[in-house]
Amino acid sequence: MLLLIIKKEILAALRNVRLQIAGIFLIALMLVAVLLGRQGQQLIHKEREKAQSAMYDIWVNQGMKHPHSAAHFGQFAFKPKPVLSFLDVGLDNYTGTSVFLEAHKQNEILFSAAQDSNAMIRFGEMTMALVLQILLPLLIIFLTFNIFSKEREEGTLKLIYAQGLSMRQLFMAKVWATYVMVLAIFIPVICIAYFLLDYQSVSMDPNIGLKFIGLTITYALYFLVFVLLSVLISAFAKKSSISLLSLLGLWIVACIILPKATANLADKAYPTPSQFEFRNTIREKVKNGIDGHNPRDERLNALKQKVLDQYEVSSVEELPVNWSGIAMQAGEEYTDKIYDREFTRVENIFKKQNRLSEWVGFINPYLAIRHLSMAFAGTDFDHHTAFARAAENYRRAFVKKMNKDMELNHTPGIAYGDYNVGKEMWSSIKPFAYQLPDLTSILSKQWRSVAALVTWLLGLFFIASIFSNSISKI
């Protein structure tokens, strides 16, 4: 019986010219989004890989110089373009793409796509995610808004009921029929996307297959939520026009108004400091100490005394090691400590904002899918901070190596300009290589969104099982 209804619904939809056009348009849109997205992802990834390699060559071939000068000469870290970012570009257009790594300073990640684009980017790039999250639900609305009300208006609902079918059976049959149609549009395109995965970049993106499956399942669940919700509204709406207006209203609230309102609310509830405030706080704390009672001069004098005592000498000139190297590394470590505290503080504010948005996923499934989609695609905030931390750790490691060399090998008495090292030293620093977080890490951070989506599904099935038998037949 279920199959009979599914077959009938699909046949009727296939013979509906308006739905045919909408379906073909959506498939074409998804294919274009996938193909262009994939092309763009590969291009950007190759460009960044090339740039990373070129910058490393420049580092290795910088010639003979003092290690501290090399630490200031610095290196660049380029954010790799995640393999699945062609499906969901997420925050990638707004977060930077590369960071200059040098001694003493934690630079910002610069050069976001949004900086180089016109205002249209604010409306979102045409990606598979945009089509799946916003436009496909619209198709679901057009497929379902009169799925019950039209039957009621045309008297076929009475006839179906007269054949001995319960309203609950009919409700579920219509849900699965619509869902099959949605999957018939979604699955072929997502399969094409799978075959287009950039396997050359997979090494930096672990569990890519599982992430892709996770992304696919998540979207499939999201569509089921929308189908259930739409069929429920159609089932209880007195007229098709009321059903359509209610569903479109819900779509506008869920996909446009609520996400903006949530972002504004999160910003008001957890305000973030400006870039200037952030930098200024670090500068002040480096100068005056973390608690304001331990200024730089005092810290340096205390360290000097400790080193002199350790080597049992009375002046830095008598030290067997380079005092400047020790002082610089100590300065680095102190700055790192302050930076870590401040970075974590700001990161926590952003996390709180994101958490708030994730909790709103229990009210709005669109937000749940948005968070999950970006997370699986590797383009969310957590992935950005993971890259920022990886780049900062790399900076610390190479600056430390320069300082250590200076401490041990630039013996006192030799002028700064007379101590130089070369290619062997530069090559000992391995090129920057970054791996995206794995699936476990993603799921552990995104449990709220997963729970929100599952709650929506269970809740809607529960409501349907209780109320579907009371759907009016007349």
Partner: protein
């Protein structure tokens, strides 16, 4: 067999059906006559369990509808007043679909034969229903009802909007079903068709079944007279109110 005991349906203070006691045996066609709002469709809707009774009981083959709604459907076929069917499906596909829901989906050949047997032209069978006239849709409805082979049939204004030829064909089909021992309850405005097709006639007024007659015991002009007088009384009652 179709039966009601003290069946009442109220909408707030308005009584749509008042204490209806009705029985339609196998091989009988009971035609319910009455003005709009007399309670004819309410009676059909209660048999179909589309609405719940305020009090009283409805039985189909001794199964109480309120208790065993789904089970009663096995014994019941139904043709609504405005049968639009699915416009994007052909007559054949509509029949196969509805008959499939009611039991076993008939094969193409069987379904085609059934449609022809109710008078649908061969060339129309594979046309989409949106191109059908009301009479043609009604014929598909009858085919759906026949395919179910139920022993009870409910009809809500089945001949409204049909041309005389289609209406006559329809009456002939009902007579055939009556011969096959189907109990038929038909709500209609058509006095002529009720007299000509029905075995029993009931006249309803403001929720009450005022008269019950055997159609072979009354002439058409007498039925018309009785009907008009009943309606007049109704008018007077309304006027007095």
């Amino acid at each position: 067999m179709l039966r009601t005991i003290n069946l009442t349906k109220k909408y707030g203070t308005h009584t749509a059906l008042n204490n209806l006691n009705l029985s339609v045996q196998a091989g009988e066609i009971f035609c319910l006559l009455g003005a709009n709002g007399a309670g004819k469709t309410t009676t059909i809707n209660l048999f179909m369990n589309f609405i719940q009774a305020t009090s009283g009981q409805v039985f189909i083959n001794d199964l109480e509808v309120a208790q065993q709604a789904q089970a009663t459907k096995k014994h019941l076929a139904y043709i609504p007043e405005n049968l639009n069917l699915y416009g994007n499906l052909t007559g054949l596909e509509n029949l196969q679909f509805f008959a499939g829901l009611g039991g076993e989906k008939p094969k193409k050949e069987v379904a085609s034969q059934l449609l022809k047997s109710v008078g649908l032209q061969s060339e129309a069978i594979n046309k989409r229903v949106k191109q059908y006239s009301k009479g043609m849709r009604q014929k598909v409805g009858i085919a759906i009802a026949k395919a179910k082979q139920a022993d009870n049939l409910l009809l809500d204004e089945p001949t409204s909007g049909l041309d005389p030829q289609a209406s006559n064909d329809f009456a002939q089909l009902l007579r055939e079903m009556r011969e096959n021992k189907v109990a038929i309850l038909m709500a209609t405005h058509d006095l002529f068709r009720a007299k000509e097709t029905g075995t029993h006639i009931g006249i309803m007024k403001e929720g009450d079944l005022v008269h019950t007659l055997k159609s072979d015991e009354i002439k058409l002009n007498e039925l018309e007279q009785l009907y008009l007088e009943t309606m007049k009384t109704e008018s007077h009652a309304t006027a007095n109110n």
